[in-house]
Symmetry: C2
């Protein structure tokens, strides 16, 4: 059996579990989003700002994916929302079964928005459907405006691009117009928001849009 056949089988199996997770989300009227990015782009910081924005207005649940440690779940636990930590033990992406198996933690809590923070990796998670409604890719200004062209699969498979750390623009060699142009070249349908977690610029716009997507 070739490696490609094995990989296809892994993805097919994952897609099957993702379908079950998607059915479960619909049954629970839960909007699930899958946040992906490089390590250090600011996924957890954005999540913190989102939890502050939604506060008691929207019931949010969180699944934290990490290669090692529960540092992110510790950060999120302060916000008094249900959070499940998935440690992948070296695996470079989340798979649908991790998400599906975590759902019982949200039983009876009437969660309306499930935020899944994937492992920090701009390549591998693009292939793995977690049953989410859509993927949200985060790219920070410090990473450079060429990244959508260099890592196209992730930008092609996402519906939303959050350009983070725009407060650092005066200090870094990044042209946001080029970044947006490169992202739209790869995926013309991307919905794009510009954010700063430091001065909360753009957070209300992004969260307001997301709130309208709730089911």
């Amino acid at each position: 059996m070739s490696i490609i056949t094995i990989e296809r089988k892994v993805l097919e199996k994952n897609d099957e579990v993702a379908r079950k997770a998607r059915e479960e989300f619909a049954k629970r009227r839960m909007l699930a989003i899958n946040i992906v990015s490089s390590p250090g782009s600011g996924k957890t910081s954005i999540l913190e700002r989102m939890l502050e924005y939604f506060n008691d207005a929207v019931a949010v649940g969180v699944i934290e994916g990490d290669v090692q440690t529960d540092l992110d779940a510790q950060r999120i636990a302060k916000y008094d929302v249900p959070v499940v930590q998935v440690v992948t033990n070296g695996m470079c992406h989340l798979e649908a079964k991790f998400v599906y198996d975590s759902l019982s933690a949200f039983d009876g809590k009437d969660i309306r928005l499930l935020i899944i923070e994937n492992v920090g990796n701009l390549v591998c998670p693009s292939n793995y459907d977690l049953g989410e409604e859509f993927k949200v890719v985060v790219l920070s200004t410090t990473e450079g405006d060429d990244k959508p062209l260099k890592y196209p699969a992730m930008f092609r498979n996402a519906s939303v691009l959050l350009i983070n750390k725009i407060d650092l623009l005066p200090y870094v060699n990044c042209n946001v117009d080029s970044m947006i142009k490169n992202a739209l070249t790869v995926n013309p349908k991307l919905k794009i928001f510009q954010l700063s977690c430091t001065n909360v610029q753009g957070i209300a716009e992004w969260c307001g849009w997301l709130e309208k997507q709730l089911i």
Copy 2:
């Protein structure tokens, strides 16, 4: 055949080719280093500063690994050094065979230092020996000081840590002392340099040390 068995076979096959590459490096008296990091940590910018430092004093060859595009090789080509672009077509890491198959491009050029820039990914490339003398992991201050704990395999398998973008420290939430402490917790033997590609701070120290490792 299980997936774990397949993965082990892939790694064993890779190690075998890495051994051949390592023998070839020794025969050519070429020091090969494998630079790894997240996307956007500044691997290519560091490479540019290194090429400026070594200029005509050390014959350098470059292998550029990218998921897609030859943007990095285009940047490096300006420095008039031999460069081979490897496009992995979606694969999340370089394997030894890419490196071994590229070596003929350096025939007759008496290269003393071969710099391999891996795909931007802080997880997967840690498992793949390319035959290099050692791995150099780049972590930028904008990524946060917790990353060595969250992605330990890469820091454990590297010999050198380059902390990049230290010029941005006044603007980001990063404690370099904590970053160093976290890195040394994971790997007490790490040799650490602090760099800025913008104001070239630390470049001479890192390149001077590297020059002493030439064989």
